[in-house]
């Protein structure tokens, strides 16, 4: 099973651990992530402005490249996932945008949203299956109370991400169960950590991150997992005294026995 893979800028840098552990786990679980040869940064956010074309083209190029490679496109970072899915949706359903984007890019074959974009978690759920993930676990996380932190970019807008119920998601909890952990359900798991506002208004980001971490801790979480480097940064920076936070792939790799939480830059 081969997927085109879009790592994104952060995974090549501060979130290298997300990339490394995901690849190790994929190998163990029997699927291959083929990094797109010439990807560019997705821009971090998908502008909601209808007249923004150029800033969305990096994502469209990646999508078209995956189409040409003939594979579904897998991504890990919540932001990349959000941008790719939104760009794909716009190419498929916004004729005006698709026309302008195609005109800009001058591809050999115009792109109209043919690629299927999957988050790594969706691959685990829909392609591998939780039962097979569970069967591959060699170091179960038995007894660990782990809180999944979705944040906002992974699930919203719900109709476009089409990944899970945006207000009551289960995908990461199911993931944690497959690893043998005890998922902690807490109400702020799909609330915002403050995101990029951390640059300009660190206090606001701190407030939001704290609320999330405190809520998880209140429900007994010892550990938090996320798919988003920025969520991880904000929680880690603002609630260092709370439950430890890591990437979901780190727990996955650990449970599969292919490399545990390790050399993360920010630790």
């Amino acid at each position: 099973m081969i997927f085109s893979y879009y790592p994104g800028c952060t995974l090549k840098n501060k979130a290298a651990e997300l990339d490394r552990t995901a690849r190790l786990a994929a190998e163990r679980l029997g699927f291959t992530l083929e990094e797109l040869p010439e990807w560019q940064c997705c821009g971090g956010v998908f502008s909601s402005a209808r007249d923004e074309i150029a800033s969305k083209l990096a994502a469209v190029r990646a999508l078209a490249a995956a189409r040409d490679a003939g594979h579904d496109l897998v991504t890990l970072c919540s932001a990349c996932h959000n941008v790719l899915k939104q760009a794909n949706d716009a190419m498929a359903h916004d004729a005006d945008f698709a026309m302008k984007a195609n005109n800009y890019m001058q591809l050999e074959t115009p792109y109209h949203g043919e690629t299927r974009v999957l988050h790594y978690l969706e691959v685990l759920r829909d392609v591998v299956g939780w039962d097979r993930v569970a069967a591959a676990v060699t170091h179960p996380l038995a007894g660990q109370k782990v809180a999944a932190y979705y944040g906002c970019l992974l699930l919203r807008p719900g109709a476009v991400m089409a990944m899970d119920n945006p207000e009551n998601p289960v995908i990461m909890e199911d993931f944690l169960r497959a690893l043998g952990a005890d998922p902690v359900i807490y109400p702020y798991r799909n609330e915002c950590c403050g995101g990029y506002i951390t640059l300009e208004d660190p206090d606001l980001a701190a407030k939001k991150s704290r609320q999330v971490a405190d809520s998880a801790a209140g429900f007994g979480a010892q550990q938090m997992v996320t798919a988003c480097p920025l969520c991880l940064y904000n929680i880690h920076k603002n609630a260092a005294d709370g439950p430890e936070i890591c990437y979901f792939t780190e727990l996955l790799a650990q449970a599969l026995g292919v490399g545990g939480k390790g050399a993360r830059d920010d630790q």
């Binding site: 945006p166 207000e167 009551n168 359900i185 807490y186 209140g218 007994g220």
Partner: protein, 663 residues
């Protein structure tokens, strides 16, 4: 060639002042076929009518043109006059020279000229008129009511009271519907059961009412006055004729872990059950999904304890065919599923409940015996937040675009009753608008605020966050004070939008009754025929037609019943003779007419036609059921070959009028 008489009315000076009636009569007397022409002061008077009758007899008239007021005024009068003189009433045409001539013109010459042209058009039309006889069909004097909630019950009782047989088909094991689940009713706060159950008993005891409980309509054929309906009586594995309703089986059944749907799953019941104490019919039903005997043949406890020998594990579905003259749809409503509204944490916390669940939690026959307790820990809630419009007025695709109409009032009721019984409980209601049109409704809502101190806050709840300590953090906006509120609540009650019952859509297809995009049945006319479906003989009662409360439902149920009674009291149905007719020699069988017919009056049959050289061709041709056709004429234009025409307003008649006017 017709022999036509023309009668020009003066209408006192109403016509005669602006139209030279003499000149009109004179001019029209020269039209082809006109053998008699007269003018008179008041044609509608007895003397005027006698003038017409005499002329019909004396001049052997075959057609009559009356130049007078609007046909909407006196067409019926003059048709009766003609009939009294032995002329087919549909040989009469009216030229409207008052409302559409004398009253709107001042110039007498112009008025006279126009009156002559209008008269000429009527003469031209009468030339092509043919005697029409309204079709007759017999009426089966029995009504079917589909749905046994308060709407169906009231309709059935009223029809039976007028002396007609009526059957109720109810898909649940008992009649009663949603109202049985309610505690009190607004705005009077009487107990729902106290006012409903006597009516349920009346249904059971009235010998003209037959209840098919645990049954569904499977097939409908026929038309107004003559429906044939197949009813599926689902196997309940209990012989209704033997069961005494003692309830012993429901206590002894070992399968205890069945969600009690009557209490919306808030507690459990046994696999054999009677939904509630006052059920009608009071007969036990086995839930085949949970019964060990039916699933794997291991148990049989209920059969052992039943002294009446009513348990029958071998019972199968029965199909009953019955004939009806009229059908009333009373399929009711349900609250919508809240999967798309998880920001309110309905699935994430047992203390977030729907309003209907709240009814059960406050009902003396409910899971808590009427004491309001939190489902999670059985403790008294001290702060309750009610959220209005959950899924109502929602155009995002998650909910329903319409206002569910009843939520404002029942929420006021819940808030008021809570404050009344538990004054230490703080009650917040978040609303977008409070909509209380209805007798004593606004007063009721204001009492909740002014007497009972319910906190009404204009704004919406954005998120309900279940906290580790068991409370619910309600984050909401207060639009008046322009702040975001954070209320720590013990319970949250969601006023879920209501939607038509899922059984309504397939039923509408069976009945050829039309529905709107929300699956509510459409009425024949939104203002003037609100309880009739556009399909003749199908009537609408209750929330299947649109969201409504109990008083409105009962009023509509009575109105539907009176329409049914009116229909059933006729021995024969006389249709409007001006109906569509298909010329089978011209018909292509293409179905265009059928597609635009709002009444389902057109069907098709394969018919043999003799062709040259003794060959036979089989062609699909349209047939119009004159009892069902209402005569709109949509089909006549949809038909490309001109096979479909409308009696009384035929293509040639209308074109003759056009020709006469344009000449």
């Amino acid at each position: 060639m017709q022999r036509i008489g023309v009668f020009v009315c003066w209408c006192g000076s109403n016509i005669a002042a602006t139209v030279d009636v003499e000149a009109v009569a004179e001019a029209l007397s020269h039209e082809p076929g006109v053998v008699f022409s007269a003018n008179y002061q008041y044609m509608c008077s007895e003397a005027g009518q006698n003038l017409i009758k005499d002329a019909i007899r004396d001049h052997q008239l075959t057609g009559v043109v009356i130049c007078s007021c609007s046909p909407r005024m006196h067409e019926q009068t003059f048709r009766k006059t003609a009939a009294a003189a032995g002329l087919n009433p549909y040989m009469v045409e009216i030229a409207n020279i008052r409302e559409q001539c004398s009253w709107i013109h001042k110039d007498k010459a112009a008025g006279t000229e126009k009156a002559i042209i209008l008269g000429r058009a009527a003469v031209a039309k009468v030339h092509l008129n043919a005697p029409l006889v309204a079709g007759e069909s017999p009426v089966t004097k029995r009504a079917l009511v589909i749905g046994g909630g308060i709407a169906g019950i009231q309709t059935a009782l009223d029809i039976a009271d007028a002396g007609f047989e009526v059957d109720i088909v109810e898909k649940e094991p008992t009649i009663g519907g949603k109202m049985t689940q309610l505690d009190k009713t607004f705005p009077t706060l009487d107990c729902a059961a106290c006012i409903l159950t006597p009516k349920m008993v009346d249904c059971a005891q009235d010998e003209r009412i037959h209840i098919y409980a645990y049954s569904e309509v499977e097939k409908v054929e026929g038309f107004v006055g003559n429906f044939t309906v197949t009813i599926k009586k689902k196997a309940r594995f209990v012989d209704e004729t033997k069961c005494t309703g003692c309830g012993l089986c429901t206590e002894k059944c070992p399968q205890k872990k069945v969600p009690n749907l009557f209490n919306l799953g808030l507690d459990t019941r046994r696999a054999i059950y009677i939904p509630f104490a006052q059920a009608v019919p009071k007969v036990a039903t086995i839930d085949a999904d949970y019964c060990n005997m039916l699933k794997n043949g291991k148990c049989g406890v209920c059969a052992k304890v039943c002294t009446a020998g009513a348990i029958d594990y071998k019972q199968t579905d029965q199909h009953i065919e019955e004939k009806y003259g009229a059908i009333v749809v009373a399929t009711g409503y349900n609250p919508i599923k809240l999967d798309s509204f998880e920001e309110y944490a309905y699935a994430q916390s047992p203390d977030v409940v729907t309003s209907l669940e709240f009814e059960r939690l406050t009902n003396a026959a409910g899971p808590t015996g009427g004491t309001l307790l939190r489902p999670s820990d059985g403790k008294h809630p001290h702060t309750i937040v009610f959220v209005q419009c959950v899924g109502s007025r929602d155009t995002s695709g998650c909910g329903k675009p319409y206002c569910s109409k009843i939520c404002c009032m029942y929420t006021a009721k819940h808030a008021m009753l809570t404050r009344d019984k538990y004054p230490d409980t703080e009650v917040y209601v978040f609303y977008i608008d409070v909509r209380t049109p209805g007798k004593n409704f606004d007063e009721f809502y204001r009492r909740a605020v002014e007497e009972y101190g319910v906190h009404y806050i204009k704004g919406m709840v954005g998120k309900v966050a279940p906290q580790a300590d068991g409370t619910l953090m309600v984050q909401a906006s207060d639009l008046i004070s322009n702040e975001q509120l954070h209320i720590s609540a013990d319970m949250v009650v969601l006023a879920a939008a209501i939607e038509p019952d899922k059984s309504a859509r397939p039923l509408a297809t069976m009945l050829t009754a039309s529905m709107d995009t929300n699956d509510f049945f459409t009425e024949a006319h939104p203002k003037l025929r609100p309880v009739e479906s556009p399909t003749a003989g199908i009537f609408l009662s209750g929330a299947c037609q649109g969201p409504k409360d109990i008083p409105e439902t009962v009023a509509q149920a009575g109105a539907a019943a009176s329409k049914v009674i009116g229909l059933l009291s006729k021995n024969k149905l006389t249709g409007n003779p001006c109906v569509a007719r298909s010329d089978e020699m011209l018909c292509n069988g293409c179905s265009s007419c059928e597609k635009v017919c709002p009444y389902g009056a057109i069907s098709y049959e394969d018919k043999e036609f003799r062709m040259p050289n003794r060959t036979v061709a089989i062609r699909r041709v349209a047939k119009v059921n004159p009892a069902v056709c209402q005569g709109c004429g949509a089909c006549t234009v949809a038909c490309p070959s001109g096979a479909m025409d409308l009696l009384g307003f035929s293509n040639r008649q209308i074109m003759a009028e056009v020709d006469a006017i344009c000449k």
